[in-house]
Structures are given as C-alpha cells and as structure tokens.
Amino acid sequence: MGLKTSFSGVSLPPQKVSNPAIEDAPLPKRVVLPLGQNGNRVCKPVVEVGEQVKTGQLIGQSDDFLVAPVHSSISGTITAIRPWFDLSGNEMLSVIVESDGNDSWLEEIRADEGFSDKEAAQLLTDLKAAGVVEIGPPSMPLHAKFATPEPSKEARFLVGIPQTKPVDTVIINGIDAEPGMAAKGAVLTKYSSEIADGIRILQKLIGSAQIVLAVNSNGSVSSPLSGELAGLSVQVFRGKDKYPLGLNPILIKCVTGREIPLPDGNEQDIGVAVVDAATLVHLVEAVRDLKPQVEKVVSISGAGITAVKNFRVRLGTLVQDLIEQQTGLKGEPVKVIAGGAMTGVALLSTDIPVSKETDALIFQTATEAKSFSPDACINCGLCVRHCPSRLLPNELSKYCEFSMFEEARARFLLHCIECGICAYVCPEKRPMLHLMRYGKRELSLA
C-alpha cells in the first residue's frame, strides 16, 4: 500500500540507530508522577504522604472522560504531593515516590487474563483503568479514541445529525517521524507478538474498521513481525523518507486521502483513529495482563551519542537521573529536548520527569544548540515551497510579528500543523514556528 497523495516537505538528515534495539533503564531511586496530561485536567490523588505503594498501584484518578488515571511506577514510600514542573514548564500537582529498591508489583497485575473472551465494553474499561495515553499530538487517554463521548450541550439541539463519524480506519503509526526518534521502529521489531495482539484487540474494539500499519520506507516489516501479521486482515503502508509523513495530519492524508477539517476538527470527524505503535503495546499489556502504563520507550540521542539508543524508562524518572546513567555523553548538555528535533519541547531544567508524552530525549551541547535570528524576512519563498499545509509561512510570520492576528487568521494561520519545516529551511533563521504559535495563542485568548 502506497501513498494516496503527495505532499510538500523536506528530507531530513538520516540517523543511525544503535543495537540492541531496546535496553532497560536502571530502576530510579525516586520518581515524580504528574497527575494530569492536558492543562487543567488533573486527577485527584487517592494516596497520602507517608503511604507505602507498590508498582502499578493507583495513586490518582478522575471522573473526567479525558483524564487518564495515574499509577505508581515503582514501589516505595510517598514523600510528597506537591506542584512540580511538567514538560512545558507549567506547574502541575505531582506525587513523589521514594523507591524501596524492591520493585514489588501489585499481585493482581501480570495476571495474563487473555482477551479472547472479553467484550468490547470490558476492553475499554480495562484500557481506561490502565491509564494508557496516546502520545498525539494532541495527547489524550487512548480509550477516548474508541469510546463515544457524551454529546456536548450544543450538540443536543442538532437532533438526528450524528455528531462523530464512526471510526472506519485505524492507523498504527510506526513511523519515526523526526531525527532523535527511533522508538517506534524498535518497538515494531521487539514487540511483534504484542503488535499482532494489538491488531486483534483493535478489531474487537471496532469490528468493521480497516487497520493499516504504517512503517518507515527503509524499515521493511521485519521477519518476526511479518510472521505474526500473516493471517491478520491488516494492510501495511510503506511511507517514504520525507518529513512530516509521520505527523498525524499528513499520515492520515497519505493513507486515506482524507484531510482533517481545520481549524476546529480532529481525526474523529473523518472517521480515523491513529494509534502510536508504542502505545499499542501498552494497550495490549493493559487488556491482556491488566498492567497499567508505568513505562515508556524513550529514544536518547545527541551530545556525542551518534546512534540513537532506546531505553524502557519508568514514568516519572527525572531527566537528570537518565543523564547520569549515560556514559556516552560528551560535554555538558545546554539544551535538553523532550520529543523529536523538529517539534520537541526544550526543557527548563533537568529536574523534569519523563511522562507518558515523552518518546524521545535529545541532549545538545553548546555547539549543537541552534539559535534564531531577529532579522527581517527576505521573501525567498523557501518556506512556501516546503510547507505541507500549502500555507504562506513568510506572510503569516510577518502578520504575527506585527500583531496583525486577524489578518493571519484570514490567511489560514489556524491551518498550520506546526511541523516546524518553515523554521528549519529559513535562510534568515527566523523563529517561524514561534511566531505562528504566538499568533495562534493570541487568537485563542481573544
């Protein structure tokens, strides 16, 4: 299965990936577990300071449909429940657990119940209880992609019009989109039986949906996975080596030919659900083993690490602790990026924990870290040539720079998918993506 449509974009420098594909990071002495994923939606803690917890024990939950419960990722003592910085530098209520070094799990976990006789409703309940989060963007609890939410207040007036299209295509995103990311390809190789189980579970969840597995153009389906996939009704989509194919809006367009209606729409409006390959493994563990999500495969690169390494890291491990385990680091990192090199977030401090949204960490030394320039746009049109959304980023960046936000909205600012290509190609090194996000933020506040 090939691309249904072409798109503008850019070829990014290739990267090496080290073998073995996934290593286990050592057990952290302490974890910081934020009680929420998106903004104001936060769980309530169900534990108290001083309490003993086991690995996988529930420590926070919420009635909100869009909030995933939080589980302890190590066993030990809760030393504090207090605000801590999350990835984007906002303070979020977090639970801090000191390890007892035993990593003793709750007994009902690793029950290996199997899933073959479970109904779809039971599968969703298990999935919600395990707190599996789809990395996105936008990051959201995975169960919310497959369950029908309560209709909104406005929607109740529109009687007879179906609010969301039923999901007819599920895309498993196995494409490592950006430099610094290698987790998905490694997961596809190492957890091939889980991927196959995940496809079976998805078929149970959404019976009629077509399932598409999207893989890198070079990473052909490896032998254990192709063996597992035999006999399953799944289509394999081979991408090409061009960014931003791995980003959801473009991936959906290339696989199905449909576009997400912007600015307000999302993938559910066009009947598509995208599941990250690494998240799919957590889904299988949640449903089959009743194991909550307490780990995340994180790719680590930069600062002397030429080949990207993948680690299975306990959630809540501080980035500082990960740095100390790294022997290959050359020089002090001055910039730490959570996520890929094109769309990742630069961290404020190394005391920030790995969360369910972290799939890569890039360390940059002073020579590797780039900076932007305040110079004027020269209208060379390189950004226009490469924009996958077919926008005019040169013009939009100027509107945002001079606070002409309504003009920018009229020129489709809100259709920007924030891939970062315009800032990557800009010969004047203007902070294009920053200006776009600034404009979007101002418009959302107006």
């Binding site: 932007f372 020269i378 060379c380 800032a423 990557y424 920053h434």
Partner: protein
C-alpha cells in the same frame, strides 16, 4: 505555594522547535547567484575586453559602498556580508553596454541600491527589482550613453561577428525583418554580436541558470513559463505574417531574454512565491516583453515587463493551492 524547582541551579537553554536548522543561509543563496553569473561575465570579458571587468568592479564597489552608507544613515545592522549588494552590482554591470562611462554606471548602481532597495528596508522588502529600477533611471536620464554599442572583439580564437552594427533587436526594429537573411545562429547563441556585457552570450547565461536550478536556488516555474510564453507568442505572429514578424527563436537568443528569465525575474522578494503565482508571473513577463518588442517604444521589453509584473506580485501571491483541511463553511 512552594516552588517546584530551585531556580538557583543553572537553567537550561529553552527555545521553540525546531531544534535543528538547514545549513542554507542568505549568503549561500547570494554567493551561489554570484557564481552563476561568472560565466556571463567571463563571456563579456572575452567579447568586449577588460573594460567589461572594470565596469563590473566599479558597479560592485558602488553597490557595497551605497548599502553600507544607507545602513549607516538609517541606523540598521550591516548585512554586506550576505553578498546581496555584490549580486546587485554585478547584475547592473551585465545589463550595461561595455561603452557606458564609469560615472553613468556609478549613478545607476547608486540609484538601484538607494531608490530600488534600501529605502524599503533592504533585501527582500523592495517591491520592484532594484537592478531594473537603477537601470531605468540611467536609461531614461542618460539615453545616449546607455545605447552606444561597440562591435565584439573576441580576445582570441573567433573572428569578430561583423555582419550587423547594432544589437539584433535594434536591427529588426530599425531595418525590418527582411534584412535578416543567412542568420548566423551560432554567433547569436555564443554572443558574437553587439549588445550588453552579460546578455550577448546566451550559452554562458544558460550555464549559470542551469547551475541555479541544480543548486535549487531558484525553481523552474518562472524561467520556463517566461521563455515558453514569449516563444509561443512569437510563434503565433510569425505564422500569421513572417514578412512582418521575425522567427521567435531570434527573440529568445537576443536581448536580455535569457538573463531576465533566470536572474532578473527570479529576484527574491519581488516575485510571487506560490507555484501558480510564479507561472502566471512568468507568462506575464513573456507576453509583455514580446508586446514591447513588437509594438512598444523601447527596443528590448524585458526590463519593463518584469517591473510591471513586480507590481502585480502581491496580487499573484493570492493565487495559491487550497490549504490543508480547508472545508466549505456550512452556513
């Protein structure tokens, strides 16, 4: 509320994504354009002697000095290093006759830098092609100096092409099509004819243009649509009445046509950036050039065609493909 993280510790650098950048800079674009112009300059030196080189150096020095002066007067950051003034100066020299006196070239280049570019804020913010603005000032103010032609005298090898005393376009305009018999096509192509320094040798200009395309400094849209529309327009009239209108290929190989299509009509900032906009721009340039050459008051229409189309650029940027995710609003 107690602070999450002690701010005493040295903080990391934060910036927005992306965290990698392509190596291409403005200087890269400009110096590649300069390299692409070298064959045309060498051809000019070959056919018209070292006076051509002298004129080019004078223009480039004037352009750099004027930019530095204007940046100083306006209190702006000096950006000489990016090479845009060198490109501007060299392009100005290449579209001058080798007989142009040095003071005319200095005035024209200064007008190009000051009136054409710097008062709008410099590179990329000028509405009209700065080189052509300067040229237009010089051409209208110093008509006699700007339209004095000399015969090519190749430094070695070739015999001087002595069959016409004026640039080919002037010959067609003044003497009529019937004088064009036994055309020396090769001389037209390699530039063994009277004309401006950098435009007579179509072969050298083409090498530079193909270099720009290969290095992806420019895209094919404008040059191809420019040349194709001019040739097709000429073909139609040639088929209608070959007694009055010359073979369209002569028009491609004479005057500024090729240099205009590859270098002047692709000037950053004064041309559209969307693909359909660029194609319309190129077609417009081609048609207006031919209209001026057939019926206009000037012999070569390239400069005014490009200046006219520059004025339409903001409008042409509105011609664009549908953006991702745009749906019709359900009222």
């Amino acid at each position: 509320m107690e602070k999450a993280i002690s701010l005493d510790k040295p903080m990391l650098r934060v910036s927005v994504a992306p965290h990698i950048q392509q190596k291409i800079t403005t200087s890269h674009l400009m110096y590649n354009t300069l390299i692409a112009l070298v064959p045309a300059l060498l051809a000019g030196i070959y056919f018209f002697g070292f006076a051509s080189l002298k004129l080019a150096l004078i223009c480039m020095a004037t352009a750099v000095a004027c930019e530095a002066g204007m940046k100083g007067v306006m209190g702006r950051k000096l950006t000489i290093i990016n090479g845009s003034s060198l490109v501007l100066g060299l392009l100005f020299a290449l579209i001058c006759s080798p007989e142009v006196p040095w003071w005319t070239a200095v005035v024209g280049t200064a007008m190009a830098v000051i009136l054409g570019s710097e008062i709008y804020g410099g590179l990329g913010n000028n509405p009209f092609n700065a080189v052509l603005v300067g040229w237009a000032v010089a051409r209208i103010s110093f008509t006699e100096q700007m339209t004095t032609w000399i015969m090519p005298e190749p430094l070695f090898g070739l015999e001087a092409g002595g069959y016409i005393e004026y640039p080919p376009l002037d010959v067609i305009r003044v003497d009529g099509v019937e004088t064009l018999v036994d055309l020396p096509w090769l001389d037209l192509f390699i530039g063994n004819v009277p004309g401006t320094i950098g435009t007579v040798c179509v072969a050298a200009v083409l090498i530079g243009g193909i270099y720009l395309l290969a290095r992806r400094i420019i895209t094919w849209h404008i040059p191809v649509s420019f040349l194709a529309s001019a040739w097709l327009f000429g073909l139609i009239f040639w088929l209608i009445d070959p007694e009055v209108y010359a073979n369209p290929t002569i028009y491609l190989l004479s005057g500024w046509m090729v240099l205009g299509a590859f270098f002047l009509a692709t000037d950053k900032g004064t041309v559209p950036v969307t693909a359909p906009g660029m194609i319309i721009f190129g077609i417009g340039c081609g048609l207006i050039t031919m209209i001026i050459r057939y019926w206009g008051g000037f012999v070569d229409g390239v400069a005014f065609a490009i200046l006219l189309m520059n004025a339409l650029t903001p409008l042409l940027d509105r011609v664009r493909p549908r953006v991702y995710g745009r749906v019709k609003q359900v009222a």
